[in-house]
């Protein structure tokens, strides 16, 4: 491969990498926007669910939810 051909090939690969990077940014933007749409009410109430689940009350709530879910499933079955 000549030097100029190698430069052209590198340019092509660089351009491809740049396009790939922008495509990834677009996917990331779309994913974040979708996540924001899903978490609207948590943000609206300024409620950090992750922080809450790290408190002692978090596991209690989770256990209660599991118990309710199992009762619900039992009744549905």
């Amino acid at each position: 491969m000549t030097e100029s051909a190698e430069v052209a090939e590198l340019s092509r690969r660089l351009d491809e990498a740049e396009r790939e990077r922008t495509a990834r940014a677009a996917e990331a933007n779309a994913a974040i926007a979708a996540a924001q749409d899903r978490s609207y009410w948590l943000d609206r109430w300024q409620f950090d669910l992750n922080a809450f689940m790290r408190t002692p009350a978090g596991p209690v709530l989770r256990a209660a939810a599991r118990a309710l879910r199992s009762v619900y499933r039992l009744l549905r079955a």
Binding site: A26, I32, D43, Q46
Partner: protein, 705 residues
């Protein structure tokens, strides 16, 4: 002219409304006005059947003070009585009100007691009765002047037109009547409490809703008259003990049976304890997060925030950015790859200041971003808020962008903690230029300049800092030719420019009758460059010349104090504005720096607009183009409006020229122009050395005739 106008704000008035309207009609001849905020329960039909004049108030524009001011403006009586949709006037109410005004000179308001319904709970019945008894211990009308209680309630109050015109209700979320009462006494007016001017009115809620109601009430009192309810465990216990004891005595006097007494005693304890807690919380609401306030409020209102600290510390975060840029210098730019400027898809990161509904600059930015996304680009929004003006979290900000400005797909970030670079980062205001200079991971930076912002300030550090941004290594994209030329002449900056667009789907001639008497004024008082005082003086002059004219003011949520009557639209939706533009006769929008979006939107509806000569409007519209330009003097502006009112031929010429001027002013075109500017920013980076080159800059065609 009727002696008395009765004004009733209504939203789904329910079964009591019919009794209220009948109660008013039974008093005698009055003008009856119902201000309806989107009722769907038959209230509108009831109002019409009662012979009321029905005025529509869009629910998003309702405000306790603002809407009542509108009712007063539309009424014609020399006395204006306000009732609520659940306050039934008792027999003799109107006669007592009229008597009250003859009790002394300068009586500005007459009000009366709220009587409980037979089924009202003993706590509320006693509270109402004992509260109003304090105003007239001997049961006779009482004159109140400065130093006396300021209490006034728009559940049942009547005002003299002269007093209302002088004071007007403030545009507050709650307790506009209390604020009015305090102010009128300060101004030397008197008010009269007459026990005979009574209405049947009592709010009976469940225990929890009572607490929330008190929370709203005391939050309003804090906002309007600064009252803070004291709280202590001992004080609360005492209040509950006294309250329950009082209720029990009240019940005994009125013959309640033992079972009823026992039941109501328990409710009474809960009621008084809840009231103590809720009133203390309400008057300290500014310390609570918006979400907690909303949860505690019966009106579901996030309400008052802690007032922003004034003074030096307020600017501290921004100073940090200014100092950091001085210390560290700009973040290094990435080397753009060949062809980067011509790639079909770019990641465009846009840094914006916090926004409020109706902001013209944000409308322009988000409208264009939506179109960039349609072109295939991906965008992200970064809100830079050094003054912490916005307390909302990112998902809420994103929802607001989508609902209030444009349906964007972009995520919204607050601050730069999660910054991940972009092909081009765009500053959109002078403050945002500082963090943009510090952001890494970008091959190019651009500056979307909507106005010459250093002119917004007096002699100050802010003026210097704003001016300095025009010399930053940011590719400038100016909003309009006037601004482009200014940047070139004053700062030697040569970039590209774009023309503001118009949403022709909304702003267009509508099928509504054009009035001959209506002057619309863009009264954005919070924005000094819109020369509101100048416009108000012009309107005052017009009102003196032609008192029959109808004035409609918009653009600011807070009504402006004026010497003339007007209708206050607040920050109206685009659809509402378009309707007013389509039926109005002349618009006034004054621009001391760069022109605003408003004149073009007025023109798109066929409404001739008066603006200032010798400034950006002249550069944009031309000396004798679609706008009626005039000297920045009140009488000259009034003359210009009169020309449009009287000279039908001149009106038609301006209207047609306006429609032609804006025909090709679209957001699609603006988005393309700015997109070209962003590509030019990348191209400029590819040049070596990267010196600005005016001849190569993107130049859209000259707008206008």
């Amino acid at each position: 002219m009727p002696r008395v106008s009765v004004v009733i704000p209504v939203k789904d008035g329910g079964p009591l409304l019919e009794r209220v309207l009948a109660g008013v009609r039974a008093q005698g001849e009055v003008e009856l006005i119902v201000l309806d905020s989107g009722s769907s329960d038959g209230s509108r039909e009831l109002a019409r059947a009662a012979g009321a004049t029905l005025i529509d108030v869009p629910p998003d524009q309702f405000g306790h003070g603002r809407t009542r001011n509108l009712g007063a403006e539309r009424s014609s009586g020399e006395l204006i009585a306000f009732l609520t949709q659940d306050a039934i006037p008792a027999e003799g109410w109107l006669a007592a009100v009229l008597d009250g005004f003859s009790l002394a000179d300068r009586v500005g308001a007459v009000y009366g007691p709220h009587l409980p319904h037979p089924e009202t709970s003993p706590m509320i019945a006693r509270e109402l009765t004992e509260f109003f008894a304090t105003f007239a211990a001997d049961g006779r009308p009482t004159l109140q002047r400065q130093g006396d209680p300021t209490f006034l309630s728009n559940v049942n109050a009547c005002y003299s037109r002269a007093c209302w015109e002088e004071i007007r209700f403030p545009d507050v979320d709650y307790a506009e009547d209390q604020a009015f009462g305090a102010r009128m006494l300060e101004r030397g007016w008197a008010k009269v409490y007459d026990p005979r001017a009574a209405v049947l009115h009592a709010h009976d809620y469940g225990a929890v809703d009572f607490m929330r109601r008190y929370f709203d009430e005391y939050r309003g009192l804090r906002d309007t008259i600064g009252h803070v309810e004291p709280i202590s465990a001992r004080g609360l216990a005492g209040a509950v003990r006294r309250g329950v004891g009082g209720d029990r005595a009240w019940m005994r006097e009125r013959g309640y049976g033992p079972a009823a007494q026992a039941r109501w005693t328990a409710r009474s304890a809960i009621h008084h304890a809840g009231r103590g807690v809720a009133s203390a919380l309400g008057s300290r609401a500014d310390r609570l997060p918006g979400s907690v306030q909303r949860a505690l409020s019966l009106e579901r209102r996030g309400g008052s925030q802690a007032p922003t600290a004034q003074g030096s510390s307020r600017e501290r975060p921004l100073w940090d950015e200014v100092a950091r840029l001085d210390r560290e210098g700009p973040a290094p730019l990435l080397d753009p790859t060949a062809g980067a400027a011509d790639r079909d898809r770019l990641h465009i990161a846009v840094v914006v200041p916090p926004f409020t509904r109706g902001s013209g600059g944000h409308t322009s930015i988000f409208q264009m971003m939506m179109r960039w996304e349609r072109m295939g680009h991906t965008c992200s929004i970064w809100v830079y808020d050094p003054r912490e003006q916005s307390h909302e979290w990112p998902a809420v900000l994103r929802r607001r962008v989508v609902e209030e400005f444009a349906p964007l797909a972009a995520p919204v970030f607050k601050g730069f903690e999660h910054w991940y670079g972009a092909d081009v980062v765009v500053a959109t205001g002078w403050e945002t230029a500082y963090p943009v200079m510090l952001l890494p991971g970008c091959p190019a930076r651009a500056y979307l300049i909507h106005d010459h912002e250093s002119e917004f300030f007096g002699t100050s550090a802010e003026a210097l800092w704003a001016e300095r941004t025009y010399s930053f290594d940011l590719y400038p994209i100016a909003g309009g030719a006037w601004l482009r030329d200014l940047l070139a002449e004053q700062y030697g900056r040569h970039g590209s420019w774009f023309r503001f667009g118009v949403d022709h789907g909304i702003y267009r001639p509508l099928d509504v009758a054009r009035r001959r008497d209506t002057v619309l004024f863009y009264c954005r008082d919070a924005t000094p460059r819109r020369a509101v005082p100048l416009g108000l003086l012009a309107l005052d002059e017009l009102w003196r010349r032609r008192p029959e004219l109808r004035f409609v003011l918009f653009g600011d949520p807070v009504p402006t104090r004026t010497t003339f009557p007007y209708e206050h639209l607040g920050i109206a939706s685009p659809e509402t504005l378009a309707r007013h533009y389509a039926e109005g006769t002349v618009g006034i929008s004054l621009s001391l720096t760069n022109y605003s979006l408003i004149p073009q939107e007025m023109m798109a509806c066929g409404l001739p607009c008066v603006d200032l000569a010798g400034r950006s409007p002249e550069a944009v519209f031309g000396r004798d183009g679609p706008a009626e330009l005039t000297a920045p003097e009140p009488l000259a502006i009034a003359d210009a409006v009169e020309r449009m009112l009287d000279d039908r031929e001149a009106w038609r010429r301006r209207s047609e020229a306006g429609l032609a001027f804006v025909a090709d002013a679209t957001w699609d075109a603006a988005a393309r122009q700015v997109e070209e500017g962003l590509r030019a920013a990348l191209r400029e980076r590819l040049r070596n050395p990267p010196a600005p080159e005016p001849a190569a800059a993107v130049r859209p065609p000259e707008p206008g005739p």
